[in-house]
């Protein structure tokens, strides 16, 4: 879950997190991040994004479509970081900030 306490204010300026596209509505996509559904914007990503694609996201925007065949290792790393990090772990805190940058999904 995104942490919104003051100690978690840090924001990685170039971290980026991968997620799977499970819905598209115009310039917004619903993306699954390790089981958490969030809305991200599609203004910046350059390739057409389809349901089931993986995208790399930064501060609430998809910046790159990632081939599914190459995403598995990355996903494992991020899922573990998301689960393991405490407030002192900057990499994990930046990852939570990236999630906090996305909009909550209504659905």
């Amino acid at each position: 879950m995104p942490c919104l306490r003051p100690t978690c204010y840090d924001l990685g300026m170039c971290l980026g997190i991968p997620g799977k596209v499970i819905g598209i509505d115009g310039l917004e996509a619903t993306v699954d991040f390790f089981g958490v559904r969030r809305q991200v914007r599609l203004d910046v990503v350059d390739e057409p994004v389809a349901l089931g694609d993986y995208v790399l996201n930064h501060v609430g925007f998809a910046i790159r479509r990632i081939p599914e065949s190459e995403v598995a290792e990355t996903l494992k790393l991020f899922a573990e970081l998301a689960a393991a990090g405490d407030d002192q772990d900057l990499l994990a805190a930046d990852l939570r900030a990236e999630l906090a940058a996305t909009r909550k999904s209504e659905k």
Partner: protein
Amino acid sequence: MTADPGGVAELKFRDPGRARELTMALARLAESRERAPVTLMHVCGTHEQAIARFGLRSSLPPGLRVIMGPGCPVCVTDFGEVDEGVALALQGVRIATYGDMVKLPGSSKSLADAQTEGARVEVVYSATQAVELARATEEPVVFFASGFETTAVTTAAILLAGPPANFSVLSAHKYVPPAMEAVAGLPDTRVDGFLAAGHAAVITGYGLFEDFARRHRTPVVVAGFEPLDILAGLVKLLEMIRDREYGVANGYPRCVTRAGNLRAQESLWKVFEAADGPWRGIGVIPDGNLQLRKEWAALDARRRFRIDVSGLQQTERSELSRRCLCGKIMVGLVEPTQCPLFGRECVPDSPVGACMVSSEGTCKIWYQYGGRPDLGGTP
């Protein structure tokens, strides 16, 4: 919740065979060099986080140094830029900004100081959230925006999407390639190879570094953020140095292409233009700042408001702040532990310099992951 050390070890050596191969290759390559030590520079806070978190420096052979360059956009935000944000906030304008910017010291005050004097400063995690703040009110909202090109493209995107009229941007966005140029040109810094930041290269493409590598006779490798990506990037750099191959290698092909994200580049340059500007602790970097183009004057806080920073800049910088070595740390001349303030007068809760403020600052990363993280391999 605390980090599970077992988990970290597992991550570091998810593919232990591959990790062993890579560290052995590093050792062989470093040993075969006639001229030691070799210094490799990366320019990304996330790389430093991964190196420190996963203890990668302990895997480096003697004679190989890996240092961080100006890879923290918050750290290089100049005093004058912070002063502009603080002045606007103290004038009563609502400020939305990324969290790391709040504690960043200006000439005499930070945004956090302004907050205690009653100014309204709100932390956002995205440009979209800043626009939402503006939509929810009639009064002016200024988005004090920081970050390298990867983040600047998102600021460009919200401007192109048509924000409300009460919204404007105070840009402290920075552009990485000119800073690499500046570091490579410094007489005191000898960098033998650069590890370029993967996610900035997602936007700009790796082709951008080809001319740089040729001119400075310094290889560049674009690398991802996983421990094995970083080790593989270092191996590739040592091979290129050995073979005098002064070009660019893409070690992150799953995300980076030669041309980069053309749509993002088009948006970026439609909204921003490169301008000379001071980087904190480093000096003026030609074309290092991203400022709004004239066509966007109506949404440019610098053109829209009279920002008077003179009251903030009259005081002398404190004795402590003059002893801060952030500038030298950011160009790789000294390490955080060589700063007399590190971990003593300067800690994350009361930072003296910008490098201890941001989660991407070298000092904060070293402090947070235990002082001098696993520097077994440095000379």
